[in-house]
Amino acid sequence: MISRGALLKVFLGSFFIQSSWSFEKMQGLGFASAIAPALKEIFKDKKARIEAYKRHLDFYNAHPYMASPVLGASINLEEKAGEAGPGASAAPKFKSMIMGPYGAIGDSFFWGSVRPMASVIGVLITLLWGWKGPLAFLLLYNCFHLWMRFYGLKAGVRDGKDVVGYIMSLDLPEWGVRFKYLTAAVLGVVSVVVLWSLFGAAGAPVKKWVWLGAGFPAVMASVIALSLLFKRGLSISKLVYIVTLPLILYGLLLG
């Protein structure tokens, strides 16, 4: 069993897994650097230790947070290899087998669901209460982030190859869809808050119900139309130009 100190070093090292990200080897050096403190403890013989370092200094790419369960499982497998003798490590094969699926799960859950959810909640709070928005965003997002870094590593060390079962039991794809729907609901509220703030900025020359009656359908229809344009492959950069440039020119001419 490796010490808590070594495990803490691996945990801290996992935050730097992409420090030397390259197109050819991606997170290869970062992974080797992160797991090195554990390997140093497992392999007392220098030659065996260097061989272990070399085993992990190879191509590796997954979602950065999902590297933690893989790091943990690799430590478990290296411990077994340390007991069984040279050439017995199953860690490289396990890594290469698991990095693709874990990358896809992590990208979809963290980048595709948790981050948009935290962003939109942060934006809503910013529009309503100012500086509390960024804080809420960071707190909410990092609950999920740090949970996966810490418990993923712990589960990997405990379960070895069976960490796959642990990740499956979390049901991340299903939670991802739920978070997407929550984000959509918050975006609906953001649309109304945008209308509300524009109502205030306009100095309320019209009654609230008139503003809402005309503005709400217009905003909802615009959002749906624009999101369909995104679906047709138009990039955000192009859409910013298409949508705002005519309005800026119109505003300048009118002003």
Partner: protein
């Protein structure tokens, strides 16, 4: 005045360079997202309150640009630093930042391509650190992995600092020419359009079977609450 702009540019470049580490090289706690970066830069430039709006708009607009596989997304940190610096420099203290934000955004989007190129170059150079580590291990030097890995982070940070500085300096020096635009309230519809586009980008980012239905239903409920006087 010029020395003031140079020192401000140096400050935002240093802060932006360190924050941009969070994008790829270290931590990934999302302090590099516009919602956080913009008010931090705003704080150093003396107007964090106005920068919150810049951050919120950019956060929504860039919500769907994801770093998947080999794809290098828009450098949201550099863009946030630049747009915040330009918008705050163009806006006199008594005016809201909304008047100038859409124009600043249009000007800065092409500049952000420069950041993406620099980011790509760093990722090409980084393979040298991997090769160095491999050679050192072959030579029996075992304490090389962390050092070589952190050289990559240092390169990311240095590149962030340099690219932000060389773009922020001319942007901050020339931003005052946008000031007449701030006083023209007629450009406010462009700001509203930016927000609506941001919401659309959000809807697109979380698109699933029932997204549009839930989005519309939540909007109707929120509008009803506003009508009753809750908001």
């Amino acid at each position: 005045m010029l020395s003031g702009i140079v020192s401000s540019s140096l400050i935002v470049a240093a802060v932006g360079g360190v924050i941009s580490l969070d994008r790829t090289a270290a931590f990934q706690t999302m302090v590099s997202r516009p919602l956080v970066t913009a008010p931090v830069i705003g704080y150093f430039l003396g107007n964090a309150e106005a920068a919150l709006i810049v951050g919120a708009v950019l956060e929504l607009l860039l919500i769907g640009d994801l770093p998947v596989g080999r794809y290098i997304p828009v450098h949201e940190t550099g863009l946030s630093v630049l747009v915040t610096a330009a918008a705050l420099n163009a806006t006199p203290a008594s005016f809201p930042v909304e008047g100038v934000l859409p124009t600043v955004l249009l000007v800065m989007i092409p500049v952000s391509v420069f950041y993406q190129k620099a980011d790509t170059i760093v990722r090409r150079i980084n393979i040298r650190f991997f090769d160095n580590a491999r050679t050192m291990l072959d030579n029996g030097e075992e304490a090389c992995l962390m050092g070589e890995n952190l050289k990559g982070a240092a390169l990311f940070c240095l590149t962030g600092f340099v690219t932000i500085f060389v773009t922020a300096l001319p942007v901050m020096a020339s931003a005052r020419y946008l000031r007449p635009m701030v006083e023209q309230s007629a450009v406010y519809p462009a700001f509203a359009a930016c927000l609506v586009l941001g919401v659309a980008a959000g809807v697109n980012a979380v698109y699933a079977e029932r997204t549009l239905l839930i989005f519309t239903a939540a909007g109707i409920v929120a509008a009803a609450v506003w009508m009753v006087g809750g908001l």
